[in-house]
Structures are given as C-alpha cells and as structure tokens.
Amino acid sequence: MRKLTALIAGLLFGLGLYLSGMTNPAKVLGFLDLAGEWDPSLALVMLGALAVSSVFFYVARQRRTALLGAPIKMPTRRTLDRRLVLGSVVFGVGWGIAGLCPGPAVALLLTGQWQVGVFVLAMALGMWLFERIEARRLAKA
C-alpha cells in the first residue's frame, strides 16, 4: 500500500509541475529575471502548494506515525550553518544558469530532450561527489 501511495504521490507531483508551467525552464527563468519582463507564476505555484500542504503538515506534526503505519520522518536539524547557506547559494546559481531544479528535471527526463539528460547526469555526478566527499570527511573525523 505504501508503495502504491508513493507512486501516486509522484504522479500527482509531476502533473502539478506540468499544469503549473514549472516544467518549462524558460518560465522559471522568467520568474528569476526581475529586471526583465517579470513572470510571477512561480510565486503562485508556491502559494498554491503551501496553502494545501501546510494543512497536511500541521496534522502530520501532531502525530508520530503516518496513516499507513510507518513513523513520520520529520527533519530534526535546527542549526543555521555554513553548509546550509553556501549549499543553497550554490544551488541557486545552477538553477539560474539553466532554469532547471531537481523536480522538473526528473519530470522532463523521459520526454526526449538531450539537454535534460545532460543536466540530470551532471546533477547525479554532483550528488555522487557529495557522497564521496562526505564519506572521506567522516572517515577522517
């Protein structure tokens, strides 16, 4: 059952991305380009998403277990550190270069544009590098 709901949630996420226009990198860049002809669509995507998901999260935060029985894995870190800030800044630079972030990139991957394949391979390499660097750092410590 949990596997089925995971699949359905993934499908819904993708349909939402397509409907909202966020699978079009040109539209995302239209939002990030404040000095050009500005397209505020992305802000409304966030607004629509938060209006719905915050209700679910409010309920989830009162509970220890999810409705299908598994423990609710709420993130526990509270510290505002350099990794959070620098990592997010670096992510934003990459986002601004191509107009792609992980969700839309995955949703577009099988639609046949080579550019998305190149981006996703490089993104996977970046994530793999992170795992390697972290493993080395933890081994030293």
Partner: protein
Amino acid sequence: MTLSPDFTPWASLLGGALIGLSAGLFILLNGRIAGISGLLGSLLAKHAEGRAEKALFLLGLLASPWLWSLFATLPGASIQAGGAALVLAGLLVGLGTRYGAGCTSGHGICGLSRLSLRSLVAVACFMGSGFATVYIIRHLMGA
C-alpha cells in the same frame, strides 16, 4: 518592473495546489518528505532506508508526462542553455542541494509548510542567488 504576458496565475495556482497535495499525502500517508533532491540523493547513497518507496515516488514523477499525454498534449519546455552550461548547472544543483539539504520542493514546499527556519533561510539563499545569476547572465553579460 514590467509584467510578462506569459504570466499564468490560475494554472500555476492550481498546479501548485496539486504539488502541495502530493507533498501532503506523502508526509501523512507514508511519513516522508517529498523533496526531490533528497530522494535522488538517498538513492545514490551507500546506505539509505525506504529505497523502494523513494524510487516509486520518483518513478511516478518520471511517468507523469506519459499520464498527462493521455489527456492533453504536453506543454513545451524551452531550454536555452548550451551543453557546457548545462553540465555546470547540473553539477552546481547536485552539489548545492545535497550540501544545503534540500531544493525547491524539500525546503520550498515541505520545509516552509512546517515553518522551518532552516528552510526559510535556504529558500532566501537559493532565490537570492538565482535572481543574481539571471541578472548577471541576461543583463550584465547580455546572453
């Protein structure tokens, strides 16, 4: 500031609500955060629990254009960046989201939904650097 004719308030609001419903269902039914970079990253990590559920969420996301195309034609996706720029962008997005522990979905939607200060800071950082990057590329370099 001028408003773009491409602005789609209703479709974006409704699409956003669907994304929010997905993230809401994933936390309440499965107990998991619908953060795409986190899901991808833990599939690439050596040890991670719940791989099957995470992979199935991503499979749904991968298959969503197929489901969409049963009912309507897929909207266009216009990518201007060239090969080298895409490689650089992908590397920065991969490294940055893993160091920053989240992306537009994990921090932007799930994190802000649970009023996380870390996520608010992360969103301010990646939006800020995103705005700055596009300003530099389009208005200072003129690309």
